[in-house]
Amino acid sequence: MSSIKRMLLLAKTITRTTDFGISFGRKKKDLNKKGTNIVGIIILGLVFLYFAGIILFISVKFFDFLKLFGMQSAMLGYSASLFSFIIFFFGIFYIISVFYFTSDIEHLLSLPFNAWEIIGGKFLSVIIYEYITTSLVLIPFFVYGFLNGEGILFYLYSIVIMLLLPIIPLALTAVIIMPIMRFVKFARNKDLFNMISGVLVMAIALSFNFYFQSMFTNETDLGNVVNAGGEKLVQITSAIFPGTVFAGQSLASASNINGLIYIVLLFLACVIAFSLVLLLANFLYLKAATAVSSSNASHKKLNKMNLAKNFVSTPSFFTYMKKDILILIRTPIFFMNNVLLNFIWPIVIFIAMYRITQSQEQGNIQLLIKSINFSDFDSLGKIFFIIFAVSIFIGGMNGITSSALSREGNCFNIMKFIPMSYFKQIIAKISVGFMFSFICIIIGLGVVCYFTQPPIWIIVLSIIICIPALIFTNLCGIIFELFWPKLHWDNEQKAVKQNLNVVLGMFLPIGLAIPIVIFGFLVPMNFYLSYFLLLAVGCILDVIVIVILKTIVPMRMRNIVY
């Protein structure tokens, strides 16, 4: 079998066995789960259509805008450049995951494949999955083609360009990544990569949200900014991905021979880029791929002093809490889904409040914020209802308590044989959830106080009223876990993302928070009555749930079997 054929065979096999995070469409062993597959595919399809709809809308508007200046063909270059940039960005995560962090590498190395054949196969499999994204580039192309009255050749060229477009950006990604993975030791740590990439993606998403919201106030502004930004993007991407110029030029000249010439040039550029990747792989890939680990061992011997420092006696309750916290922070999936969320919310609130205070259109809300009279005790009472309701909401959002038992997985039996009462262990788990929710509330309150500048006593009272609310939601979260823990999983995502208890833990607080706010606004009450009613109700609810837990915890824990 020739090398090319072997590479294609490998690409086909890898594509079929790697899910790139999209596991819904795959056949499951359990026939009863077929229903889930169809639902998953429908959801994915709807999400795709949603994004396609947005791109279609923007493309049409942008074409109309550019046509006013006779510059509609610029849209082709802008689209090619933007998609190249998106492919490059997401390609970083795909390339690292598929090239280095899949478990198939050791198996592949024992088969008669050269390094460049393995890389070639993996590279092609990444391109195939990138087509899910790149297929969306056809939308601006086809919009242009339809509105500009282009012929059949234009559409054929668009499809060819869509197939060739990912190659150069991905090749550049691979050329950058391979030396880093070969020579930078910590880059090969899977856990660290997953954590950093998760944080980076969220940071970029929030930054884009902040940037674009602060830029646009109307359609003309949007058009001007996108046009100016598009020009700059084309300049940058032309320098970085030479092929993108050929893509835009080919489509703009589809009606004459130049269109074909540019397609050929794009093809040649892709071949050169791909060959460069294969050449580099021969020297850099194998050693790095086999050195990847989830955790690097230091093999450092601890001396007596270090041992003594590590073995200071701590009450078992706090040791148990610490164990849960360390596992939450160190497991990338748990960190991103349960811990990071507590810090995202305050940032979202900051962005929203900053936008409100800066935007001319939000004048009414600005006035509302500025008009809060902290001496008006009757209105103040309503604000505490809002704070209480928000605390109930925040308490359930991080899913820490409503996945507390599920996250144990195969370690659940340890809970059962250690000499620590089940109730104490459960309270320790609830305390961890409360702790992170409380941090989120404090940061969020800090953000709100920065904009509203309330007196200190209001801040103190706000913190006090949050506590019973947070405790309540976390106590309720554990009840779901005691009845329906999801202990059997082979992937941490299943414990926190595909866990109905986490969803229930989020929606129950929403269901409670809304009536509380409505009650607070509809029923006339002075400040003292509002505040102390909330405090009393919160504390009473907490006590009731704790009494219930004291009864059901031993019984439920005895019956849960891993």
Binding site: K304, S313, I327, F417, P419
Partner: protein, 241 residues
């Protein structure tokens, strides 16, 4: 000392995993628990350790009934499960500290205990690394260290030799013998009949939830037709059943 009296356990009220089991494991003995796959060994051990609750019967550890005084009974033993993949994100030293705090190990003896166990099992240079970076055998060893840190009166080990290199397996056997010489009890399950033959004072054989035999090797030889080796006697017993 461990006593199991008329213990029954079934899953879904259909399959009887443990069928009217009666065992007495005396102080100062190494007791081997043998049986084919799915015989009920791990279920019995889980009943002993409080992970599972028997449908009926009584289990006591050093005279403490595990269903009536579970916390007191759990302090009597150190348990090593068959799956050593526990708390992979913790460092070895963090796992040991966790166990030391949970079992209330005296601060004055912690360092000495850890050093002694780490040296015996050759884990000195691994304690500062995450358990995730350990091989299977090393994970087995760290779980063993965690179970023995509080110097329990009873050791309950579920297939403890799996994954251990010959040197560590030898060290464990020596430790087991040392423990029983000082009056403590060791109860372990194994597939490796040679190990049971060499070190066990008494053994029991279980199949399909029923205890087929309990006694010394000599007693077994007297009862069996094929008595040239434990392997032959084991196979005869299991096939008869």
């Amino acid at each position: 000392m461990i006593t199991i009296k008329n213990v029954n356990k079934s899953y879904d009220k259909k399959v009887k995993a443990v069928d009217n089991a009666n065992l007495e494991i005396r102080q100062g003995e190494i007791f081997g628990f043998l049986g084919p796959n799915g015989a009920g060994k791990t279920t019995t051990i889980k009943l002993l350790t409080g992970i599972l609750i028997p449908d009926s019967g009584e289990i006591t550890i050093n005279g403490v009934d595990i269903s009536k005084e579970p916390l007191k009974a759990k302090r009597q033993f150190g348990y090593v499960p068959d799956d050593p993949n526990v708390f992979l994100r913790l460092k070895g030293i963090e796992y040991l500290k966790f166990m030391a705090d949970i079992y209330g190990v005296e601060p004055s003896i912690r360092v000495e205990q850890v050093e002694k166990l780490a040296k015996a099992l050759e884990m000195d240079t691994a304690l500062n690394d995450k358990i995730q970076s350990y091989s299977h055998g090393m994970r087995q060893k760290i779980v063993l260290m965690g179970a023995l840190l509080h110097n329990p009166a009873v050791w309950i080990l579920d297939e403890p030799m799996t994954g251990l290199d010959p040197k560590s397996a030898f060290a464990l056997k020596e430790m087991m013998r040392e423990q029983t010489n000082s009056g403590k009890t060791v109860f372990f399950s194994t597939h490796v009949l040679e190990v049971a033959e060499k070190i066990c004072d008494r053994l029991a054989i279980i199949n399909k939830g029923k205890i087929l035999f309990c006694g010394t090797l000599s007693e077994m030889k007297e009862q069996m037709k094929e008595n040239s080796s434990l392997e032959k006697m084991f196979l005869e017993l299991v096939e008869e059943n």
